[in-house]
């Protein structure tokens, strides 16, 4: 192989393994590594082979770039899927991440469930709400067989704004909490 084809195949491998990054980020990395290879190959006593050997396999170099990328990207996102994926990546690093992942999952389920209850109240008003019996709580949510007398429903149509508001609040708080944890985990990494 000539020096040019060696460089080309190294950069192609690098580009392939940088898959999850954005195109502009990926191309900038490839451009920088290309400049590195050409500059250091011109140093006295160096060859393209020795330079590529010192850089290490393209796959490993790409893996070092990808490390942390998912978490960094997730900490700027609002999408539950991206955020949970970031938290899952954090979970592979320790107990804190695992806790965040499950708290996040719980938060999304609570918030989503409450929101859904608000919508179900519109469609099935008789089956949705919060029931009490003798002054103590029996059931809240939506059910095919809602509690009958002597249990009584307490919210009425207030159920709709209350459930929608509480559901949204929990969803927003969950999103903010996951983003804050992901950002915090990044700054720990960069300190000493």
């Amino acid at each position: 192989m000539t020096a040019e084809t060696q460089i080309d195949s190294y950069l192609t491998a690098l580009r392939t393994h940088l898959g999850p990054l954005t195109i502009s980020e990926r191309e900038e990395i490839v451009r920088e590594i290309n400049a590195h290879i050409r500059d250091s190959a011109e140093e006295p006593g160096a060859s393209v082979e020795s330079v590529l050997a010192r850089l290490g396999p393209a796959e490993e170099l790409a893996a070092q770039y990808r490390e942390g990328f998912l978490i960094r990207q997730a900490s700027r996102s609002n999408s539950p899927i991206v955020l949970l994926r970031g938290a899952l990546r954090l979970a592979t690093k320790g107990v804190f991440g695992t806790l965040i992942f499950f708290l996040g999952l719980f938060g999304y389920m609570m918030g989503g469930g409450l929101f859904l209850t608000g919508i179900l109240k519109v469609i099935f008003p008789a089956n949705t709400g919060m029931w009490f019996k003798d002054g103590s709580f029996v059931f809240c949510g939506s059910s095919i067989t809602p509690p009958g007398p002597p249990a009584y429903e307490v919210l009425g149509m207030w159920c709709i704004p209350l459930a929608l508001f509480a559901g949204s609040l929990i969803l927003v708080l969950t999103t903010a909490a996951i983003r804050a944890s992901l950002r915090a985990s990044q700054s720990w990494q960069s300190k000493l």
Binding site: I29, R31, W188
Partner: protein, 129 residues
């Protein structure tokens, strides 16, 4: 502090412990190399080699620079060079200068304390030889 995470937990993994210690130090070293002004990747590598005993796999520095930039501690610019291809120069941002000062202070305190702690260990080793 990541130092807490650098655990020499398994007695049979001193290499891993040392690798993590180096990796942590490398971020600070990369920031420190830019204290005097902008440099491009290869210059940073050569600077670290000549100013410290940080023998590094050349591939490791670029992902670190990439992350420090994403965290806002560094900025970069492409500059045309005689070599025929542009080079990516890095410089410290104000946040980067502040962080580096904090790191340098923490590092100095930490390593000073540890060196005193390790003095007897190193002395005894020399007596045995």
């Amino acid at each position: 502090m990541a130092i807490q995470r650098v655990q020499p937990a398994d007695g049979d993994q001193p290499d891993r412990w040392e690798a993590q210690l180096r990796k942590g130090a490398l971020e600070m070293a990369a920031l420190a190399s830019l204290w005097q002004g902008r440099l491009y990747g290869l210059e940073i590598i050569r600077f670290l080699e000549s100013h410290s005993q940080l023998a590094l796999a050349e591939g490791t520095i670029y992902p670190i620079l990439n992350r420090l930039k994403a965290e806002g501690l560094l900025t970069s610019e492409w500059v045309e060079a005689e070599a025929g291809h542009p080079r990516k120069y890095y410089s410290l941002t104000e946040a980067g200068r502040q962080r580096l000062k904090q790191m340098a202070e923490a590092w100095t305190n930490f390593s000073g304390g540890l060196s005193r702690l390790l003095e007897p260990v190193i002395d005894r080793k020399e007596n045995h030889q």
